[in-house]
Amino acid sequence: MKSSVITFPGSNCDRDMDVALKKFGFTNKMVWHDDNELPNSDLVVLPGGFSYGDYLRCGSMASKSKIMRSVINFAKSGGLVMGICNGFQILVETGLVPGVLLRNKYLEFICKNVFVKLDNKENAYFKNLNKDILEFHIAHNEGNYFCTKDQLKEIKDNNQIAIYYCNKEGKIEDQYNPNGSIKNIAGIFNKEKNVLGMMPHPERMIDQSLSGEDGSIFFKNLINNIK
């Protein structure tokens, strides 16, 4: 299986994503933001970091970079595109997924483990996962997902909500919401479910010496689904 990770100026989780993808069997290529063409890929990942320093608005300048034209075309033709953290912010800026990401409710960067509940397994990312609740890791300053009432209705109707922040038992309540996001949303799909944007970093949970192993479960399942 072939994957591509895009490096923007200021990306800083690109290497971590490369390590994770390779560990679980992907043949990964690093792609420079200024390139025109995407290599032949089964999965394209927009990694975390601070693309263009997050100046102007998080993800905004990266969404206009050269390679993104190819990424958008790839997504529109049904290719799998996953945006993690800053990658999610870039996806929002391209309009591939609806909504916006605001500054965290308490105006502070948060780095910690969180639990997320899967809402929809009818997609390439979560199909066949035998767990509904995963322990992931977040590290962000702007992860407060927001959208209009109409958009919210639409993404609910279309089953576009991918994951919610919750507790260990899967309860989705305000107190388990780390950043104030609407309805505890931690990640969403596009309508067709081939594009996934989420704040948590599965690539930081890929061996028992790190924060946990639920990232391993996610990636193993993902490559099996793509095969």
Partner: protein, 729 residues
Amino acid sequence: MEVNEQTAIDHGLKSDEYKKICQLLKRTPNITELGIFSAMWNEHCSYKSSRLHLKKLPTKGKKVIQGPGENAGVIDIEDGDAIVFKIESHNHPSFIEPYQGAATGVGGIMRDVFTMGARPIANLNSIHFGSPQHKKTKNLLRGVVHGIGGYGNCMGVPTIAGQTSFDSSYNGNILVNAMTLGLVKKNKIFYSKAAGLNKPVIYVGSKTGRDGIHGASMASASFDEKIEEKKPTVQVGDPFTEKLLLEACLELMAGDSIIAIQDMGAAGLTSSSIEMASKGNLGIEINLNKVPCRETKMTPYEIMLSESQERMLIVLENGKEEVAKKIFDKWNLDFAVIGKTTNSKNIELFFNQEPVAKIPVNILVENSPMYDRKWKKSKLPKKNKIKNEVLNKLKIKDVLKKVLSNQNICSKEWIWQQYDHTVMGDTIQKPGGDSGVVRVHGTNKAVAASVDSSAVYCWAHPLTGGKQVVAESWRNLISVGAKPIAITNCLNFGSPEKEENMGEFVECVQGIGEASKYLNFPVVSGNVSFYNQTKEVGIKPTPSIGGVGLIKDYTKMISMDLKEIDNLVLIIGKTEGHIDQSLFARTILDEKNGPPPEVNLFNEKNNGETILNLIDKGYVKSAHDISLGGLLVAISKMCIKGNKGIKISKSKNLINEIEYFFAEDQGRYLIEVNKDDLKEVTKILNKNSVHHEELGIITQNDMIINEKTKVTIDELKSYYTNWLSKFMS
């Protein structure tokens, strides 16, 4: 502008120093030259009050590749790998402008590390604030934490450990010390020594602006009521540019284009160019019109003294300009050939085709002032006699609650949760433990690092305090199973022109030297920050020690959380009941006098090495050193982190219960061992003459002390975790 003695004094130089400049130059300097002298001869850059004493520190060792004198120290961690590390202060700017001051402190220290070819893999910090009741404390703390996080998070370097304290002596002068570790191949280390004639000198990174002019001079003076006016001397950081600069420099360093490289830190283009020339025993010629500027009409004086961030100076091999330019273009950074190396041994500056400065390099460096300042020796204070009646009136649980929730003990999670501590995917021990630990990417090795200071001990008796900080750093590394290798120090003191403060400095350095020599734990880098003083009031002497150690097999790393019910907890090292200068004495008894606990270096070394041996044999399940707050605080933290209880039976020695639980005797650890291993563990401890006793047995929940005091885990957690977040909300 005419230069005279008054101009020199306005630049922070003393009359004698100005006379010396005129003598050495055999003429009056022009304003640009005077600016250069003031930048090179201030305390921050010249170490004029400290050099004489720093020379006495042990800086060599089998594992030391590079000691003090370069951008950072370098140690060998085997297999061709090396760790580059250093700690540095950014105290003065952080008080004036907390966010930018702290942020650029972090940026500056990372630059010191990657200048040497190393990719930064971990950040640490030691930050000290005034009393929580002081009106500025909250905002300063928030600003500093946001600044450290803002820079480090954007760079994608995990912040893995740190230290925070509150003390009214920092009310007018907070401390922000930032430390970075980088990883490099031993054969790819870069130095700042220029070599060869007519080699191109290139400038890369951000453009030069008017920010930070005289920053280093500002950091070489005490504060007064006009300190707010000094805001323009604080630099403004751009972590995004620094991230690009890091990647571009490492890309260029992969080839063979660079002869020497030096970051532009304190005193900017001035100190970087002069240091490179001085180390190479060469001259350097710079055309200031070629320096990329972001503001118009900048004068040679401003260009030379700007402390704009994210800039580097590089001496390239001839003919490599194009290769280098291509890389910096790719990363959208400025690149300019601004001069060349010469055999004149002068620094020569040109602007609009006119010479604007010409100074022999050796005058600026070797002839810079060095002072043997007067200093006052301190006496060991007399021990307090604390009456048993006083102690017997106290209830253990009440004391524990007060001590655990004290601002200097309680959990600092509110701070470190704002730092990305997991990026790079190799953090295997997060903040909140004895040391932070990161794996050496792709290997079985890991590097542990800790940063410590004990200002109260140093204030009570500088010599003992100096020793104690080094010993504590050593213990924090041992506690995670790392073999301590070397330290970096950041020496924060008041004015060296006051005999008491200078005495504190001299004796702390002596203590640090004694301990690091005995423990074979040499000092490989560091920095001195004097004048942490507002008018006549200085800070408590605060040397911060950053220690680094190696774990050869990271699966053997130890953490402090209790692991298994029915395991035993042993106390290693003897509890004598030293209460003076303990957190207990200060907060519960309100007793601020008396000597700090004695540091017995033999015991430190012996206890530490024996524990490492036990860890290596697999007998230690968890470990924690006993430091601030004493025994009961240490075991409480182990219970909280492991979510387990303990049944404690105090051994029948003569010490009062309160003294036993809250004394801060040194050289002590707690270790968890399996009952089945006890016999073998005891044998090893006895064989090495290590004092040990049993503290208790691990239970499912509740801390039960001598069958009469019960504290639930939830109570412990609430004492320990709430103070800081409440204070900040």
